[in-house]
Amino acid sequence: MPNENNISRRGLFMKLGILFNGIVAAALAVPIVRFLMSSITRGRAGDYLSWVPLGHVNEFPEGETRLATFRNPYVTPTDGETVDTACWVRRIGGDQFQVFAVNCAHLGCPVRWFPQSGLFMCPCHGGAYYRDGSRASGPPERGLFEYPHKIENGLVTIQAGELFTPGPSAALTGKNPPCA
C-alpha cells in the first residue's frame, strides 16, 4: 500500500537493498583498489631501489666503456631472466666513473657503444650519444640515464631497481649537445 509520501513498503526495501549493496561494494572496493594499485604505492617508499655491486674497480680499464650486468635487487619468483640487467660502465680515470642505463632516453631500446667513433648508438630510431652520455643526435631529447654510483670496498656500486623512462619532463631536463 502506498503511503502519503508515495513510497511503498517494497519500494523502500528495494532502495534499502540498493543502499546495502552500495555500502558492501564500497567496502569491497577498498581492498580491490589497494590490490590493483600495489605496484604503484609500494614504489613510493623507494622500496624498489637498492645498492648493487657491478664488479671490482680494476675490472674496468681506465678510459674505456664496458658493458656490465647485474641482477635487479627486487625479484619475484616468476621473473626468470628478465631481472638480469645490463648497463654501460665508463671509467674516466681513477675512481671517476659514469654508469649509464642501456635504455635509450628516447623510447628505451638498448643502445650500443662504438669505441671507434666514440658514440652510443640506438638501433631503433637512430638516437646517438657522446661518450659522456650527453645527447649527440637523433630523436632523444636528453642524454643517457645515469645510475647513482659509489665506490665501496673497491667495488663499483650503483643504485638500481627501476626501469628508466624519459618521463613527462623529457623535454625540460634535456641537455643540449655540447659544442666540441
Binding site: T78, N103, A136, G161, L163, A180
Partner: protein, 490 residues
C-alpha cells in the same frame, strides 16, 4: 522426423529462442545489399571466433610466466603435435583480424553507413577497433621474446610521458618497477580475460544493432539521409525491394568467411609460426627490436617526428583521432551517403592509407637508423682511392676506422641516416667540411673530441676528393676573391 520436431519443441518451450532466430533469419534486407562489399564485418567476426578457438588451444600449453613463457612457446613450435600450426593460425589470424576490421571500417565510412540511425553501431565499432589493436599489442607481449621485452620498454617510455601520472602509469602497466614476471602476468590477464570479455560483449551489441536497425542500404548518389524521414523510407525500401536475410544475404557472408578461414590456414601452412625471437634476456643488447606489422607505421613515425613534437603527438594525437572517430556520426549524421559524391571522404581515406603505407614501407628498411653492423671491415672502395695522395689515403683510413659508414653510404654501401658522401665535395667547401666534422649539426654528432687535428685534416682531404671526374669541387667564391686580391696587391 516427428521425434526430432518433438525434441525441438521440448527445448523451445524452455529456451524460447525459435521465434527470435526466425525473426533474424527472415528479416528483410534491401536486395542490393546482398553484395560482396558487405562481407567484411562477418568475416572479421569469423576470424575473431577462430582466434577464440586457437587462443584456447594455445592456452592448454602456454605458461604465462616470465621464466617459462619462452620455453613453452618453443615446446609449442617443436614438441607439441601441430602446436606450430595452431600458433601460426593464431598469429596470422591476428593480422587478418586487424586488416578485416580496418577494411570493414573503410567500407562503412565510404558507404555512409555510420549516419543516422546507425551512430551507436559506428561508435561501438570504434571501440572494437581499439580493442582489436589492444589484442594485437598484448598478444605480441605474450610472445615473450626480445621484441616483446623491448616493445614493453617502448610502451613504458611512451606512457611515462603523460604529465604528472606518467611514472604511476608505467608502474601500473609493468606491475612493478621493471619489466618482469608481473608484467607478463598482467598482459596475459588483459589478453585472455579482460579484452576478449569486452570484445564479446561489444560484438554482440554491434551485431544486435545491425539486425535491429537493418543493414545499411546500398548508397545511391543523391538519396540523402534525413532524420525525420529515413526510417520510413528504409522500411518502404525493404518492403518494395527486399529479400529475407537468409538465404539472400547470408550466402556471400558464408562463402567469404570460409575463404578467409582457408586463407588464414594457407598462410599458417606457408609462413609457419612467427617467433619467438631471441630469449627475453635484457643483458643481450645486440638486438634490433621491431614491432609487429600493424604497428610498424608508428615505429616509423616515432623516428621521423621532430623531437619537440613527439610527446605532444604521442599523447594528444591518439586522443584527437579517437574523439574525431567518435564524433564523426554526429558531425555528419545526415546527408549524402554515396562515396561518389563525397570527394573529401574518399581523399581522406586515400591520404590515411598512403601515409600509413609509406610509413610501414619505410619501417621495413629504417633509413633513419645507423647501420649497427657497418664495421670498419667495410673498406673504402678502391675506385675512390685512385690517384690520391698519401694524406688523402690516410683520410680514407680515418673514414673507415671511425665508422662514418654507420650513417653515410659511399659507393652504395653504408647507412642512410646521413646523406650519401659519393659527391660530398660538390656540396660542401673545405671549411664547411671541417666545421661539419668537428661540430656536427643537422643531426650529425660532433667528432671534434674524437678526432685529432691530424685525423681531421686527413679526413677532410679525403672528403674533398669525393666529386665526379671533370667537375670541380665546391669552393668558396669569397676566398678566391681574397686570394686574387692579395696576389694582385702584395
Amino acid at each position: 522426423m516427428r521425434i526430432i520436431s518433438q525434441i525441438g519443441n521440448w527445448f523451445d518451450r524452455r529456451l524460447q529462442l525459435a521465434a527470435p532466430i526466425r525473426e533474424v533469419t527472415e528479416h528483410q534486407i534491401p536486395r542490393n545489399t546482398a553484395s560482396w562489399w558487405y562481407v567484411f564485418g562477418s568475416a572479421a567476426l569469423t576470424v575473431f571466433l577462430l582466434q577464440l578457438v586457437t587462443g584456447i588451444l594455445l592456452a592448454l600449453i602456454y605458461v604465462p610466466s616470465a621464466s617459462e613463457a619462452w620455453s613453452s612457446l618453443q615446446a609449442l613450435n617443436h614438441d607439441v603435435t601441430l602446436g606450430w600450426f595452431i600458433r601460426a593460425m593464431h598469429g596470422g589470424g591476428s593480422n587478418f583480424m586487424v586488416a578485416l576490421v580496418l577494411i570493414h571500417m573503410v567500407q562503412v565510412f565510404l558507404f555512409g553507413a555510420y549516419k543516422f540511425p546507425r551512430e551507436l553501431t559506428w561508435i561501438l565499432g570504434v571501440f572494437l577497433l581499439l580493442m582489436t589493436l589492444g589484442m594485437a599489442f598484448s598478444g605480441q607481449v605474450l610472445r615473450f621474446d626480445q621484441d616483446a621485452y623491448w616493445g614493453l620498454g617502448i610502451g613504458a617510455s611512451i606512457a611515462s610521458r603523460v604529465p604528472i601520472a606518467g611514472p604511476a602509469i608505467v608502474k601500473a602497466m609493468l606491475g612493478g618497477p621493471i619489466i618482469a614476471g608481473a608484467t607478463l602476468s598482467r598482459f596475459f590477464a588483459l589478453h585472455v580475460f579482460v579484452i576478449p570479455g569486452m570484445l564479446i560483449g561489444f560484438v554482440c551489441l554491434h551485431v544486435l544493432m545491425v539486425l535491429k536497425l537493418g543493414i545499411n542500404e546500398w548508397p545511391m548518389p543523391g538519396r540523402l539521409v534525413n532524420r525525420a524521414t529515413y526510417i520510413s523510407q528504409y522500411h518502404e525500401l525493404t518492403k518494395k525491394d527486399g529479400a529475407p536475410f537468409v538465404p539472400y544475404g547470408i550466402w556471400k557472408d558464408m562463402f567469404f568467411a570460409a575463404f578467409i578461414l582457408l586463407a588464414v590456414a594457407a598462410c599458417a601452412l606457408y609462413f609457419g609460426p612467427f617467433g619467438p625471437t631471441g630469449r627475453p634476456d635484457p643483458t643481450i643488447i645486440q638486438t634490433v627490436p621491431k614491432p609487429d606489422y600493424f604497428f610498424l607505421w608508428l615505429y616509423a613515425l616515432l623516428s621521423l617526428l621532430p623531437p619537440a613534437m613527439e610527446t605532444p603527438a604521442l599523447l594528444i594525437g591518439p586522443v584527437v583521432v579517437i574523439i574525431g572517430l567518435l564524433l564523426l556520426p554526429f558531425l555528419s549524421g545526415e546527408g549524402e551517403k554515396s562515396w561518389r559524391r563525397r570527394p573529401i571522404a574518399v581523399l581522406t581515406v586515400l591520404l590515411i592509407a598512403i601515409t600509413l603505407g609509406t610509413f610501414t614501407h619505410l619501417a621495413g628498411f629504417t633509413p633513419w637508423s645507423p647501420h649497427m653492423n657497418a664495421w670498419s671491415g667495410d673498406p673504402v672502395p678502391e675506385r675512390f682511392l685512385h690517384g690520391t695522395t698519401a694524406l688523402q689515403r690516410r683520410g680514407a683510413l680515418v673514414f673507415q676506422e671511425k665508422q662514418c659508414r654507420n650513417c653515410h653510404s659511399l659507393g652504395e654501401l653504408g647507412g642512410q641516416r646521413g646523406p650519401a658522401l659519393d659527391n660530398v665535395a660538390m656540396r660542401l667547401t673545405q671549411d664547411q667540411l671541417i666545421r661539419q666534422v668537428i661540430q656536427g649539426g643537422g643531426n650529425m654528432p660532433a667528432y671534434g673530441k674524437n678526432l685529432s687535428p691530424a685525423e681531421t685534416t686527413a679526413l677532410v682531404a679525403f672528403l674533398e676528393t669525393l666529386h665526379p671526374v671533370g667537375q670541380p669541387p665546391a669552393r668558396e667564391a669569397a676566398r678566391d676573391f681574397v686570394l686574387r686580391e692579395s696576389s694582385a696587391h702584395p
